[in-house]
Amino acid sequence: MKALARLYVALIIFFLYAPVLVMIFFSFNESSSVWVFTGFSFDWYTGLATDVTMLNALKHTLIVAVLSAVISTVLGTAAAVGITALRNKFSKKIIMSVTQIPMMNADIVTGISLMLLFIFIGKLLGLRESLGFLTVLTAHITFNLPYVILSVLPKLRQTDASLREAALDLGCTPLQAFFKVIMPAISTGIITGFIMAFTLSLDDFVISYFTCGHYQTLPIIIYNMTKKSVTPDTYALSTIIFACVFALLIMYNMLQTKSESKKAAKAQP
């Protein structure tokens, strides 16, 4: 039974990684085919370094991901604190339901509805080009916000409300009370929210596709490439992304294990 379970897990992992391995393998192909392996070369990697469209797209992706993650984390954390303090059950319920819409809705519907709004605003302002950097950033903030709010809210619920009152009684201003008492207690929620927002933004294709105009991010470039026949350079790019994400995850995991063993060491005496 145990051996069978292990075999099953291994098979699922093989299924998950088969296309990834194929991709990595063909990124080193000498010829431009993604079918027939003719020989080993790094040409596709060195070619990427001089590909201006690709580098620009990478820059766009990073700018949008960083900005949207920062803005949605600040806005979302403030909103979560406010929502927790809300007394009115009814308005709380409405706010929470609206918050869940972008998470529940299909990406294509979110993307299209935002595109219609941006085109409408663009017409009102008489702009020639209504889609671009600002619209894709706005869209990303919008779909990131629910994830930030929903990762901060449970942490706030676990935080003892009397802590804040004690801080106020001891002479803190509400702002000081927030930064000195509440913020440390909910920091893991804020960090989780930020990481989720950042990665969601990096990876988003569907919503960006409808809202980015000429401000093309990496997934859009990849989409355009896969429309024509794909050459190994797309695979090379993805292999690099894969390696970066892999390194980040390993690092994150190591940090987590370290902080846990620290906690365990502290708890021992």
């Binding site: 296309p19 406010g82 918050t99 903030i141 994830y147 990876d203 995991n253």
Partner: protein
């Protein structure tokens, strides 16, 4: 007291304004487009076009449902076996399952072509044995495979997270009361993992039913799903925004109905479960 509620309004209102403008208003605009013609006059004609897309709607629901069932059948044992491992191996496996999620799904989908095509890996291998080539690409099977492959982590993770938090003493109690492993599974593990299963199902079904990339790449031009139809119409230009909005609206309502039915099966009202 008053000061407190004022401060509270001050920190919540930016988000409320944001949510109103960028979540609610866009949907209202979509609704407006769905019920007007390109000149802006009110009409219900867009909805009458929906008949043309009956087949696309049907296929989308069918494929997404099959993909969701397959994903559940594959993911449930995986999540269960994962909880049986040492904590350190569990964490490692969790990373292994999540890693493909952070990669661009366009490429992950695309590399299946290299595997499935007539000159691809599987057919080359089969050819060595004198079989084939078997047509694997541009078939409904390829589209469903793409859906299963792209979204299976979204099924494994919520089920695993519910199962790993399961109270071990309940299992011991069941054993003490004489359950064998089958009844233990049926009466304890299965009911308690239901919230994870339900959020997994929604997280796989929604993106599957609305996809347009997977069907374009793996299904070729033959399989027109509802996502394809919407994307195609929007790319035709502003004259087609109205019909496309009507289709999007129906897709949204359809998803809402599915979620509503799903939520009837879950008894926790914690306000949605996410990973």
């Amino acid at each position: 007291m008053n000061k407190k509620s004022l401060g509270n309004k001050l920190i919540t209102s930016p988000y409320i304004v944001w949510a109103a403008i960028f979540i609610v208003v866009p949907l209202v605009i979509m609704l407006y487009f769905a019920f007007t013609d390109p000149s802006g006059a009110f009409t219900a004609e867009n909805l009458s076009h929906l008949g043309k897309y009956k087949k696309a709607f049907g296929l989308s629901i069918l494929y997404a449902a099959i993909a969701t069932v397959i994903t559940l059948v594959l993911a449930y044992p995986m999540a269960y076996f994962m909880t049986k491992l040492k904590i350190s191996s569990q964490r490692m496996l969790l990373l292994v399952v999540m890693l493909p999620m952070w990669m661009n799904f366009l490429i992950r989908t695309y590399s299946w072509i290299t595997i499935l095509a007539n000159t691809g890996i599987i057919n080359t291998l089969l050819g060595k044995f004198g079989i084939g080539p078997v047509k694997l690409m541009y078939t409904p099977g390829a589209v469903i495979l793409g859906m299963v492959y792209d979204f299976i982590p979204y099924m494994i993770l919520p089920i695993y997270s519910v199962m790993s938090k399961l109270d071990k003493s309940l299992l011991e109690a069941a054993e003490d009361l004489g359950s064998n492993s089958f009844t233990k599974f049926k009466r304890v593990i299965l009911p308690l993992s239901r919230p994870g299963v339900i959020s997994g199902i929604t997280m796989v079904f929604v993106p599957s039913v609305s996809t347009f990339y997977i069907s374009q790449k793996l299904g070729g031009n033959k399989t027109l799903l509802i996502g394809d139809a919407i994307e195609y119409l929007f790319n035709l230009g502003p004259d087609y925004y109205n019909v496309a909005s009507a289709l999007s609206m129906v897709l949204m309502v359809m998803i809402l109905i599915c979620m509503f039915i799903m939520n009837r099966f879950s008894d926790d009202d914690d306000g949605g479960v996410i990973i």
